[in-house]
């Protein structure tokens, strides 16, 4: 039985489906089309558009006519132009897709943090340029459909209101394979550099592993290529504050910032009481100066340290005293290195050009933990 707004009829010897969809001016219906020989075929239904809401268009449907304009035989670029100028009630004549439609599954939204920058205008593989969603390292993406494993439909966190249509982002394994291939080719371009033999060797081993992984569908071992990390919202309980960890190269002011926090609100901030295996001295209090434990206990606790204890807040800062240029270069170099290798572990980066500003920014970030939930890796909450 045809559903509402949909009729089946005969048209030139074929069974066609006639559907009516309302299109607002200058707002796309939210479907993509591709050419198959001289046919124009619905390729993708995009979340958040009129096409998806109507439920009347399906992937694989061939468009014969729209409002009596012949579509078959046209290039998709022409179809794009024709539709851009249309609005109001559109009548589609379609040959329904022959591929059996899987029963609609209610997909749950997956939240991820991107660990790479992505610019769709720079990507020859993105199937539909208009839908490419750009993002940067550290952005939170809400993945609402993975029905195409290579191209996920997603919203960027904070964008949902001004962008009703979902965008396309590379799927995780697609991105991993592409990066693995890129690395392989890059390595071949520059053969062994003398004096960096250990490095070349390391890469060779890595390449073997990556090549091997291309043929695997599970991505458990693909941790070397950072793509997406599944995240969840975490509300900091009032009685269980998250530890604030300041990370950065030496002499960029994190020691001073830490001291300033402790001095400014001693009732609020406290340094962690470290563990030690040495025996307690007379002037020391257990639990205040140190936790005095046996070596056995110490080793056991280290091994059992859960990742939730390692929540990191980054502090990459520049010194505004007057160190020698080479020292400064060294600090910046180190900061870069840390950001390169560990940047994805930090929640925020503070550039310490001015101590007062840096302190206020730090305090603002800390205060935010009390009022706003934070995105943390899913594994921390399991």
């Amino acid at each position: 039985l045809p559903s509402e707004g949909e009729t089946l009829t005969q048209w030139g010897g074929e069974t066609v489906k006639i559907v009516r969809i309302e299109k607002a001016q200058d707002i796309p219906l939210g479907a993509t089309v591709r050419n198959e020989m001289d046919s124009v075929v619905i390729s993708r239904i995009v979340r958040g558009g009129a096409a998806e809401r109507s439920g009347l268009l399906s992937e694989g449907d061939e468009i014969l006519e729209i409002n009596s304009i012949e579509i078959r035989g046209k290039d998709v670029n022409q179809v794009f132009d024709i539709l851009a100028d249309m609005h109001g009630l559109l009548t589609f004549v379609l040959i329904p897709s022959t591929q059996s439609k899987p029963p609609p599954v209610k997909e749950s939204v997956v939240h991820v943090k991107a660990h790479f920058d992505y610019d769709p205008s720079d990507d020859p593989y993105v199937p539909c340029r208009e839908l490419g969603l750009s993002f940067q390292k550290g952005d939170i993406l809400h993945i609402i459909s993975q029905s195409d494993p290579n191209w996920w439909q997603a919203y960027r966190d904070g964008d949902e209101d001004n962008q009703p249509l979902a965008g396309l982002v590379p799927g995780k394994s697609f991105q991993q394979q592409r990066e693995a291939m890129k690395q392989t080719i890059e390595e071949d371009k520059e053969p062994e550099k003398t004096g960096k033999l250990w490095f070349a060797k390391k890469n060779k081993r890595k390449r073997k592993k990556l090549l091997y992984n291309i043929h695997r569908t599970d991505d458990v071992d693909n941790e070397e290529i950072l793509t997406y990390e599944e995240m969840a919202l975490y509300h900091q309980p009032a009685n269980r504050k998250r530890p604030i960890a300041l990370i950065g190269p030496t002499s960029c002011g994190q020691v001073e910032l830490r001291q300033r926090l402790l001095n400014s609100q001693p009732e609020r901030f406290a340094g962690a009481v470290p563990h030690t295996t040495r025996s307690r001295r007379d002037c020391e209090l257990s639990g205040r100066d140190y936790h005095f434990v046996s070596r056995q206990t110490f080793e056991a606790e280290l091994a059992a340290a859960p990742p939730s204890q390692e929540r990191l807040r980054a502090l990459l800062a520049k010194d505004n005293k007057n160190p020698k240029p080479e020292e400064l270069r060294d600090v910046i170099e180190k900061a870069r290195e840390m950001e390169q290798s560990c940047g994805h572990l930090f929640d925020a980066i503070i550039v310490n050009t001015d101590q007062d500003k840096a302190f206020n920014e730090l305090l603002r970030l800390i205060n935010k933990l009390d009022t706003e939930p934070q995105w943390v890796p899913c594994s921390w909450l399991r």
């Binding site: 796309p28 219906l29 939210g30 479907a31 993509t32 089309v33 591709r34 050419n35 198959e36 390729s43 993708r44 995009v46 998709v76 670029n77 179809v79 794009f80 539709l83 020859p124 593989y125 199937p127 539909c128 208009e130 839908l131 394979q177 592409r178 291939m181 392989t184 080719i185 291309i214």
Partner: protein, 45 residues
């Protein structure tokens, strides 16, 4: 001496115009790239 010969042979295998090992590697790579050919163009309507 046989170690030297082996090393020379393996060096020869990896260099020169005819290099089966290299071809094997690159051949398979070309295949992977073409498998990842850009998809047909889609336009948003």
């Amino acid at each position: 001496a046989s170690g030297g010969l082996l090393a020379a042979l393996s060096r020869r295998a990896a260099r020169g115009a005819y290099s089966p090992s290299r071809q094997e590697k690159e051949g398979s790579r070309v295949e992977m790239w073409s498998a990842a050919r850009p998809p047909p163009v889609e336009r948003l309507i």
